[in-house]
């Protein structure tokens, strides 16, 4: 039965993956909603450039993303790194905050996309109707736009969370592979594979990753379906 109980290293990796996933989604959500809404509702000069820029992490090799993060947020030589450390005492080097930042950046396009699509699918006539009933732009957003795009926002959250669970390249480049600090599931798996004769451990980590990813997809699918039903006239 020993095969079913998790080792300390495995539990640490799972925990860290969850923490990193949580923070990366939690902190990027407001920006995700803002950019999703901006892209869905407004036409402005440079919109396609912004759109392309936000999608970059999806197509750029994660290692490049990690490298750019180092250049921007490296504590000693980064553009903002030293300032962030001096002002807020914030350092991303070799800790879970850095892993969360890397995950957030890589997962951001997925989140923005899901939110943008769901805001685009809201009938703008409803927002107009709210306006004529005396609702200021803020009230329109919080009583109409946000609740109606909620299914899309939730599916964006799940997608981004799943993506951050699988994040490897940017994280390892940006903050390295430190046990207990930045060693999330994929990083742990990669570390284990370096050691000869640990195939069984590798397989176990792979299966755990599969289970978590699969569960996320099922949850995402569930909300996507609810969203569809909602649009056809049911309610949440």
């Amino acid at each position: 039965m020993e095969i079913f109980s998790l080792s300390e290293a495995e539990i640490s990796a799972i925990k860290l993956s969850m923490i990193v996933g949580f923070w990366s989604v939690f902190l990027s959500l407001p920006f995700g909603i803002f950019f999703g809404w901006l892209l869905a509702r407004y036409d402005f000069i440079g919109k396609s450039i912004l759109d392309g820029f936000l999608h970059l992490p999806l197509v750029v090799p994660p290692v490049v993303t990690g490298y750019l993060l180092l250049i921007l947020f490296g504590r000693r030589n980064g553009v903002f790194g030293p300032w962030l450390y001096d002002t807020f005492g914030l350092s991303f080097a070799f800790n879970y905050k850095g892993a969360a930042l890397a995950s957030a950046v890589v997962a951001f396009p997925l989140m923005v996309r899901a939110i943008r699509l769901s805001i685009e699918s809201i009938d703008q006539g409803l927002e107009q109707a709210a306006k004529t009933l005396g609702a200021n732009p803020l009230k329109v957003f919080f009583t109409i736009t946000l609740p109606l795009s909620l299914p899309g926002i939730i599916s964006g959250i799940v997608l981004a969370f799943a993506r951050s669970l699988g994040e490897f390249g940017a994280t390892v480049t940006f903050v390295g592979n430190t046990y207990g600090q930045t060693q999330t599931l994929p990083l742990a798996l990669s570390a284990v594979l370096q050691v000869p004769g640990s195939e069984l451990y590798a397989a176990r980590l792979a299966i755990i990753s599969l289970i978590i990813a699969f569960a996320s997809l099922i949850i995402s699918e569930y909300f996507a379906r609810r969203a569809k039903k909602y649009k056809l006239g049911g309610r949440i």
Binding site: A130, G134, I144, L148
Partner: protein, 361 residues
């Protein structure tokens, strides 16, 4: 007073519109589809911004391009009822109704949810969600929601367009009821003569983005019917008042500018304002007073206007106190020697009127 003097270029259509109309009663914005009616009402609501011009409602400037005034839609105090109800799917009927309840101005309509629900017959729907309502119910809730947002004016953009005929008449009656109860001015976009005849006091007629006529609704409809002068016949519309209803014979006597009309009808209360239409094909002309004839409605008048149609038919307008149009053949035109200024008798059957009687709000 509603004053509008605006221009807007929408690419394929250029909106140009200037009118000034009393803000009491119901004003219809009519015209063919694509004439710019919805654009116009959206400009009043503040959902569309004109390129230039002025929009004033009771001395309040909604928009003035030279003074750079453009009041936001949520601060204009208009209650808007759209073609599709646009109820919020994430809120119950009650929450929909109360969505705009908290705003108020000095000139706001004062009403309460219980009363509005009772008038519109929606009290039993309060806990339901919009998805579970029928088309007619949705529009009634939408009207209630607009009323309860304390508006100073109601805007309605073809509110009946998505309903079947029976529901349409039902909703027209509700709108009449609301208007007689609250006396709130209404701007009503429609291309249906039937709705306009029953509801409107004044009308604004648009054609290809430009304002053509505005003023009393009967006058406007009679002017615009000439637009359709071609092979198909058209109606002359009159406004009158019920003088008498004879329940034994199901007959009604209506007084109008040309005198009295007798026709059969369902019971209508004495003193009610009605409008009726007479088709050009149903009007008969005679140079002598006709005797021993079954036609009940005979009037003496003077020929005012003659239009020769391309298919050798003649449309003749006779002034009998009000203008009435008759369509006659070339033979009749010749034999009666129709000329402008000639005295002539005009007649039409009761049956030509009966179907068209509309009770005005």
């Amino acid at each position: 007073m509603i004053k509008m003097n605006v221009e807007k270029n929408l690419g394929d259509i250029h909106i140009k519109c200037g009118f000034e109309i009393a803000s009491t009663g119901i004003t219809a914005i009519c015209g063919a589809s694509g004439a710019g009616k919805t654009t116009l009402i959206n400009m009043v609501a503040g959902l569309l911004t004109p390129d230039k011009g002025v929009i004033t409602f009771n001395d309040k400037e909604f928009f003035n391009s030279s003074k750079h005034i453009n009041i936001r839609a949520d601060k204009r105090f208009t209650g808007y009822v759209f073609q599709e109800s646009r109820l919020f799917p994430n809120m119950s009927v009650k929450k929909n109704l109360l969505y705009g309840y908290n705003r108020k101005s000095d000139a706001s309509l004062v009403c309460h949810i219980e009363q509005v629900c009772q008038l519109l017959g929606i009290s039993h729907l309060l806990d339901r969600y919009p998805q579970k309502l029928s088309g007619g119910e949705k529009q009634r809730v939408a009207i209630g929601r607009a009323l309860l947002s304390h508006p100073e004016i109601l805007l309605m953009d073809e509110p009946l367009a998505s309903l079947d005929v029976a529901r349409k008449q039902e909703l027209i009656d509700y709108i009449k009821l609301i208007h007689s109860h609250y006396k709130i001015p209404i701007l009503y976009v429609s291309h249906s003569v039937d709705e306009i005849l029953q509801l409107a006091d004044n009308a604004v007629y648009m054609e290809k983005g430009e304002l053509k006529y505005y003023g009393n609704v009967v006058e406007i409809l009679n002017k615009t019917s000439l637009k359709y002068v071609d092979d198909s016949s058209f109606n002359t519309i009159f406004e009158g008042e019920i003088q008498e209803y004879d329940s034994d014979n199901s007959q009604v006597i209506i007084s109008f500018d040309g005198g009295l009309v007798t026709c059969s009808s369902l019971e209508i209360e004495k003193g009610k304002k009605v409008r009726f239409a007479v088709n050009t094909d149903d009007v008969v002309l005679s140079t002598d007073y006709p005797k021993n004839i079954s036609i009940r409605n005979i009037y003496k008048g003077v020929i005012k206007n003659i239009i020769k149609q391309h298919n050798n038919l003649y449309d003749v307008e006779v002034d009998i106190g009000a203008g009435i149009w008759a369509r006659i053949s070339y033979g009749a035109y010749k034999d009666l020697s129709i000329t402008e200024g000639k005295e002539i008798y005009v007649m039409f059957k009761s049956a030509a009127v009966s179907e068209s009687i509309k009770i005005v709000h």
